[in-house]
C-alpha cells in the first residue's frame, strides 16, 4: 500500500537523504520549514518508521567576560611571559611585574610557575626557555574563532583544560544541552529516493472559501412531518386517536352515514371496490335493521344488505369514527383518526388516488356549531394559519355543513381546506348515538402543499431524493 506523504514529510526526507544525523534546527535551515513544522513532520515520519531520532546530551562552552579579554590580550601567564620578554635580561623584580599585571599578577605567577615558564629566585622572576601555547589557550582560541563563539567539549577535546578554565572566575560558562539528531531509517531512505522532490513552496493554507463535498442528513418524510404536526395538535386539543382498517365494508363507509346506495359517490368510477370480496357480517343485526329503515324512510328506496357488504378501500376516515361511536355509545368524547383514504380518480396535479385524511369528532349533549367553528379556528391557529372563514357546503351525512377557507399568502387567495358539520339525525339515531356529534376533517396533502409551496400534489409521493434532501425540516 502506498503511503501518502505530506509536503512537509517529503522535504524532511529529502534533506535527510542529503545529510543524515542532523539536528532539527539544521533541518529547519536546510528545508526552510519552521522549527514547528520540522518537529511535527518528524513525529509523523517516526510514526511511519521512516526516521529515527537519537537524543544525546552535549556541553557547550562559551567565553565569559574575562575569557574574551584573554582572547584579545592573552591569559595572565602569557601576559607575564610577554612582559618578561620585553626586558633585556628576561627577569624583573616581583613588585615590578605586580605593578604591570595588577589584578592578573597572582594567577599569572601561579600558572606560569605551573607551566614551568618561570622561576622565582630571591624575589625575582626569571623567564625560562620554552613557553608554547597551552591547552587552555588553544581552547579559548577555538571557542573564540567559532561562530557563534561556543564549542562542545568534544570539539575542545581536552577535559582538563575546560576544568582549569572553569576554575578561573568569569572565563568560561558551560551549558548542558539535549541534542536531537535525526536520521533516516531504511524505509525512510527508500521513500525519500522514490518520492520526487516537492517543488512547491510550502504553504499550509487551503481554500477555505471553496465548497465542501455535500452530505445529506437522513430525515423523516416532509409529509410525515405534517401528519405528525396535525396529530400533535389534535392531541393538544384533547382528542384521542383511533386507528382503523383501510379495507371497510360499504356499510360503514357509506350506509351508516346515510349515503344512499345509488349515490354517485358509491359508483365504481369514484370508489375502489375489492374484486369479488364482500364482508360476511357488516354490523350488529340491530344496526343493520335501523340503518336500513333510515334509508327506506329518508331516501325512499329498497335498501339491500348485499350492497352494504361490498368491501371498499375507505373513501374517508369517517367510517372509522362512526363505527367507534356506534360500538361504544359515548356520552361525551373527542376522537380523531388520521390515515390513508382512496378515491378512484384520474391522477393529476391536484388529485391522487390515495391520500391522507384527518377527521375529528366531538360528542356532547350541548355542543354547537359555534363550538365546531371555534375548534376549527383553534386548530388553524396552532397550524400558524390566522386568516380563516366559513362558507356553507353540502355533505350527505352532516347538517348543517360548512367548509373552511384559509387565506394563502403565497397564492394570494382563499383556499378551501377542511369540511365540517354536525352528523344528521338520520346518521346518529339508527346507530343509537344520543348526543350531537360535531365532525370535521380534510386532506393533509393540501396542507403539506401549502406548507412546502408545492403546486403539484404528486411531488409528495414521488420520493425524489433531490426534493426530500432539500426540504428544511426545522422551519
Amino acid at each position: 500500500m502506498s503511503q501518502v506523504l505530506h509536503p512537509i514529510e517529503q522535504k524532511i526526507l529529502h534533506a535527510l537523504l542529503d545529510k543524515s544525523d542532523i539536528t532539527q534546527e539544521d533541518l529547519s535551515v536546510k528545508t526552510q520549514l519552521s522549527i514547528d513544522q520540522v518537529r511535527r513532520g518528524i513525529e509523523w515520519l517516526r510514526f511511519k518508521e521512516m526516521v529515527q531520532v537519537k537524543e544525546s546530551e552535549k556541553n557547550y562552552v562559551k567565553l565569559a567576560k574575562r575569557g574574551l579579554a584573554a582572547f584579545e590580550s592573552g591569559l595572565p601567564e602569557r601576559q607575564l611571559v610577554n612582559y618578561l620578554r620585553t626586558i633585556p635580561v628576561f627577569s624583573c623584580e616581583m613588585d615590578q611585574a605586580r605593578s604591570h599585571l595588577k589584578d592578573e599578577f597572582g594567577p599569572a605567577i601561579a600558572n606560569a610557575k605551573k607551566n614551568g615558564w618561570i622561576e622565582i629566585y630571591q624575589n625575582r622572576i626569571l623567564l625560562k626557555g620554552y613557553h608554547d601555547a597551552t591547552a587552555e589557550e588553544r581552547a579559548i582560541k577555538l571557542i573564540a574563532t567559532k561562530d557563534p563563539p561556543m564549542a562542545t567539549s568534544d570539539e575542545i577535546g581536552d577535559a582538563d583544560a575546560i576544568e582549569s578554565l572553569k576554575k578561573r572566575p568569569e572565563f568560561i560558562t558551560v551549558a548542558c544541552t539535549k541534542n536531537v539528531l535525526v536520521a533516516l531509517t531504511e524505509k525512510g531512505t527508500q521513500a525519500a529516493q522514490s518520492t520526487p522532490v516537492f517543488q512547491d513552496s510550502v504553504n499550509r493554507a487551503i481554500d477555505v472559501e471553496a465548497p465542501a463535498p455535500l452530505v445529506f442528513a437522513a430525515r423523516s418524510h416532509p409529509l410525515a412531518d405534517v401528519i405528525d404536526e396535525v396529530r400533535e395538535i389534535f392531541v393538544s386539543l384533547g382528542f384521542s386517536e383511533l386507528v382503523g382498517r383501510n379495507v371497510q365494508s360499504s356499510f360503514w363507509n357509506f350506509d351508516a352515514l346515510f349515503i344512499p346506495q345509488d349515490h354517485p359517490a358509491r359508483e365504481m368510477q369514484d370508489t375502489f371496490y375489492l374484486r369479488s370480496l364482500s364482508s360476511k357480517s357488516v354490523a350488529s343485526p340491530r344496526h343493520v335493521r335501523q340503518v336500513s329503515k333510515a334509508h327506506q324512510k329518508g331516501w325512499g328506496y329498497g335498501w339491500r344488505l348485499e350492497a352494504a357488504k361490498r368491501m371498499v378501500l375507505r373513501t374517508h376516515t369517517t367510517c372509522v369514527t362512526i363505527k367507534e361511536l356506534a360500538d361504544r355509545q359515548y356520552e361525551e368524547a373527542r376522537l380523531f383518526s388520521i390515515g390513508r383514504v382512496y378515491r378512484n380518480e384520474k391522477v393529476s396535479y391536484k388529485h391522487l388516488v390515495e391520500f391522507n385524511q384527518v377527521e375529528g369528532v366531538v360528542v356532547g349533549e350541548k355542543v354547537t356549531l359555534r363550538d365546531l367553528m371555534g375548534l376549527q379556528m383553534e386548530f388553524y391557529r396552532k397550524m400558524g394559519i390566522t386568516k380563516a372563514k366559513f362558507w356553507p357546503t353540502f355533505f350527505p351525512y352532516t347538517e348543517p355543513s360548512l367548509q373552511s377557507m384559509i387565506y394563502n399568502e403565497r397564492l394570494g387567495k382563499w383556499v378551501e381546506l377542511f369540511g365540517m358539520g354536525i352528523f344528521r339525525p338520520e346518521v346518529t339515531r339508527p346507530l343509537g348515538i344520543k348526543n350531537r356529534v360535531l365532525a370535521w376533517g380534510g386532506g393533509i396533502e393540501r396542507i403539506a402543499m401549502l406548507r412546502y409551496g408545492l403546486d403539484d400534489v404528486r411531488e409528495l409521493y414521488q420520493n425524489r431524493l433531490g426534493w426530500l434532501r432539500s426540504v428544511p425540516k426545522c422551519q
Binding site: 437522513a218 418524510h221 384520474k346 354547537t368 367553528m373 362558507w391 348543517p400 344528521r424 431524493l465
Partner: protein, 544 residues
C-alpha cells in the same frame, strides 16, 4: 360537481336591479356556490347536486335576492289549470311507469336562455335523474303537438326523425348510431318494445329516456313549451318538473298544468310543503341565542316562508327545494339566512386530555431510529401497479388483491410488501448522489377473509459497497434499539434477492421478514448499476 355560468347582466335583469359586482361575488359562496372562474362579464360557479335549483341562473338569482334582502319568502309557483292531457298506457309499467308535464306559455327564448335550459336539463339528468336512470326530461315546442298525448310503447322497428338528424331512423338505428342512443340505450334493458310519447296524429314526440323528435325542436322562435318528465319514481318526477317550472316562471313564462291519466299516475300539483321547526333545536344546534322572529326572518331570507304555530315555527317549503327533508335541514336554512359571517366561534373546554394511538406512537419511534441509522424516510402508495409489485421482482402474484375498475395501471392492486416499491424508488433516483439509504413504514394487505392488514418496515441501502452484512447490521440495530430484541437469520430463497445472500429473519423462532442483497436481475431490469441490500419485517407482531 356541476358548474354553471352566470352573466352579471342577466343576474341584474333577473333580480330587477343592478347590484355591485363585488357584492354578488362575495355573496355567492354563502349560497354554497364555489367560485371556479371569474371573467369580466361572467362568473362560473360550482354547485352541489343537492341543490338542483341552482342549475340555472334563475335559481341562483332567487337565492341572491333572498340573502341580499331584495325579495324574501317563498317564490310562489302559479299554475293555471290547463286542458291538455297525457294518457299513460299500462305497457310502460315495468320500465318507466311515471310521467308528469306542464306547459309554459307566452315566453321568449333567446340564445342564452336556451343554453341555460339545456345546461340545466343535463345537470338534472345527471344528478337527480342519476344519468337519466331515475328521471329524464323532454322539452318541446308546444305548437307542433296535437293533444291528447299517449305515453306508451312502440316496436324497435318504429321509425321517426330524431333530434339532431334529418333522416328517418328506426329505434334500433337510433340506439346503435346516435350519441345518446349509445349512452343511454342500456336503460331500456332488452325489452322488445321501447317507451314512446306519441301525439294525436301518431307523430312521435319523444323516445324516453333517449331522445326527442326533430319535430318538436325548441328554437329562439318558440313561444310555448311542453315539458315532460318520465321517471321510475313519481316523487322524483315531480321534483324534477317543479325545478323546471320554477325556472320557466322566473324566465317570464305562464305555467299551465297538463292532466295525466293512467294507472298509478296523476296530475302533479307541485304545491309547497309544510314542516314544523322547534326554535330550541335551532338555538341548540347553532349555539345562537336568537328569538323565533329572528329565526323566521332568517328562513325568509333563505326563500322559505315561516310563521308561528304555538311555540313552533311552521315553515312553508317550495316544491323545488327537494333537499329539505327534516327539521335539521331547516336549521341550516336559518344559519344561511342569519349569515355565517355573523356567527362568532366559541371554543369548548376539553373534558379530558387527548392521546396518540400507541400504534402510531410506536411507528413514529421506529422511524426515529431508522433516521438515526442514516435512513431517509420515503412514502409510497399502498395501491400499486402489478409490474413493480410482482412482474419485475419476479414475486408470486397469487396473493394479489386487485381493485375493480381502476382508472390507472399504476394503482390496480393493494401491495402485500413494501420493499418492491423501495427498489422502484431507488430506480427513480439513479441520478442522485449515493449512498442512498431509504426506509418506509406502512400498511400491507394480505389476501384472506377478511383481508388482513399488517404494518411493515422495509429499508434498502444502495451504494458501491452495499452488502448483506451491512444491512443485517441495520436489521440487528433496529430490533435491538427499537424493541430490545435479537434476531437470527436463516438461509432462504427469494426471487427478489441474490441466491446465497438471502435469509429469513426470525425473532424467538418466528419468521417476521426477509433480508438480503437485491438480485442483479431486478437491479438490471431497473437499469440500476449500484448494488443494493435491504430487508422487510412485519412490525404488527412486535409492537401491537
Amino acid at each position: 360537481m356541476p358548474v354553471i355560468t352566470l352573466y352579471f347582466s342577466r343576474l341584474a335583469r333577473l333580480m330587477g336591479r343592478r347590484i355591485p359586482r363585488e357584492r354578488i361575488v362575495s355573496t355567492l359562496p354563502f349560497l354554497g356556490l364555489d367560485i371556479e372562474e371569474e371573467a369580466s362579464d361572467h362568473i362560473s360557479v360550482e354547485y352541489s347536486p343537492n341543490r338542483p335549483d341552482f342549475s340555472t341562473d334563475y335559481g341562483v338569482a332567487a337565492g341572491l335576492e333572498g340573502l341580499l334582502g331584495i325579495k324574501t319568502g317563498i317564490p310562489v309557483l302559479k299554475i293555471k289549470k290547463g286542458i291538455d292531457s297525457i294518457r299513460v298506457e299500462p305497457s310502460v309499467g315495468r320500465v318507466r311507469p311515471f310521467i308528469v308535464a306542464i306547459e309554459a306559455l307566452n315566453g321568449r327564448l333567446d340564445d342564452e336562455t336556451i343554453r341555460q335550459m339545456i345546461a340545466m336539463q343535463e345537470d338534472l339528468h345527471n344528478g337527480i335523474g342519476r344519468r337519466r336512470k331515475k328521471a329524464s326530461i323532454g322539452i318541446h315546442d308546444l305548437e307542433k303537438i296535437k293533444f291528447p298525448l299517449v305515453y306508451g310503447t312502440v316496436e324497435r322497428n318504429h321509425k321517426f326523425v330524431p333530434l339532431g338528424s334529418n333522416d328517418t331512423m328506426s329505434v334500433s338505428e337510433i340506439l346503435a348510431n346516435t350519441e345518446t342512443g349509445k349512452a343511454y340505450g342500456h336503460l331500456l334493458e332488452d325489452s322488445k318494445k321501447v317507451l314512446a310519447i306519441m301525439d294525436h296524429e301518431k307523430n312521435t314526440i319523444s323516445l324516453p329516456p333517449i331522445i326527442n323528435s326533430k319535430l318538436t325542436e325548441v328554437t329562439t322562435r318558440t313561444k310555448n313549451l311542453l315539458v315532460e318528465v318520465t321517471a321510475l319514481d313519481k316523487i322524483i318526477a315531480e321534483d324534477t318538473l317543479s325545478i323546471i317550472a320554477q325556472m320557466l316562471q322566473k324566465g317570464g313564462f305562464k305555467i299551465s298544468s297538463v292532466r295525466i291519466s293512467g294507472a298509478r299516475n296523476s296530475t302533479p300539483l307541485l304545491s309547497p310543503r309544510k314542516m314544523l321547526l322547534d326554535p330550541a333545536l335551532v338555538s341548540g344546534v347553532l349555539g345562537l341565542d336568537i328569538s323565533p322572529s329572528e329565526m323566521m326572518r332568517s328562513l325568509k331570507k333563505s326563500r322559505l316562508d315561516a310563521k308561528m304555530r304555538g311555540r313552533q315555527i311552521l315553515c312553508t317549503i317550495p316544491r323545488y327545494r327537494t333537499d329539505l327533508s327534516s327539521p335539521i335541514d331547516l336549521v341550516e336554512e336559518v344559519m344561511l339566512g342569519y349569515g355565517i359571517a355573523d356567527i362568532s366561534p366559541t371554543i369548548p373546554k376539553a373534558g379530558s386530555a387527548g392521546q396518540k394511538n400507541r400504534v402510531t406512537a410506536a411507528l413514529g419511534a421506529t422511524g426515529e431510529i431508522m433516521v438515526g441509522l442514516g435512513y431517509q424516510e420515503v412514502m409510497n402508495f399502498s395501491l400499486v401497479g402489478r409490474k413493480e409489485q410482482y412482474e419485475l421482482p419476479g414475486r408470486d402474484a397469487s396473493g394479489a388483491l386487485p381493485v375493480a375498475d381502476s382508472k390507472t395501471q399504476e394503482h390496480e392492486i393493494l401491495r402485500d410488501a413494501i420493499l418492491p416499491g423501495l427498489v422502484d424508488t431507488l430506480s427513480r433516483n439513479i441520478h442522485e448522489s449515493y449512498p442512498q439509504n431509504i426506509f418506509e413504514t406502512g400498511i400491507v394487505f394480505l389476501k384472506g377473509s377478511p383481508v388482513s392488514e399488517e404494518t411493515h418496515l422495509a429499508c434498502v441501502s444502495a451504494h458501491n459497497d452495499a452488502n448483506f452484512t451491512e444491512i443485517k447490521s441495520v436489521l440487528q440495530a433496529i430490533l435491538k434499539s427499537g424493541f430490545g430484541m435479537t434476531c437470527t437469520t436463516k438461509v432462504s430463497h427469494n426471487p427478489m434477492f441474490l441466491e446465497g445472500r438471502t435469509a429469513d429473519v426470525l425473532v424467538a423462532g418466528r419468521r417476521i421478514g426477509v433480508v438480503g442483497e437485491i438480485s442483479e436481475h431486478l437491479l438490471s431490469s431497473y437499469k440500476m448499476r449500484v448494488p443494493a441490500a435491504g430487508f422487510e419485517i412485519n412490525l404488527s407482531g412486535l409492537i401491537f
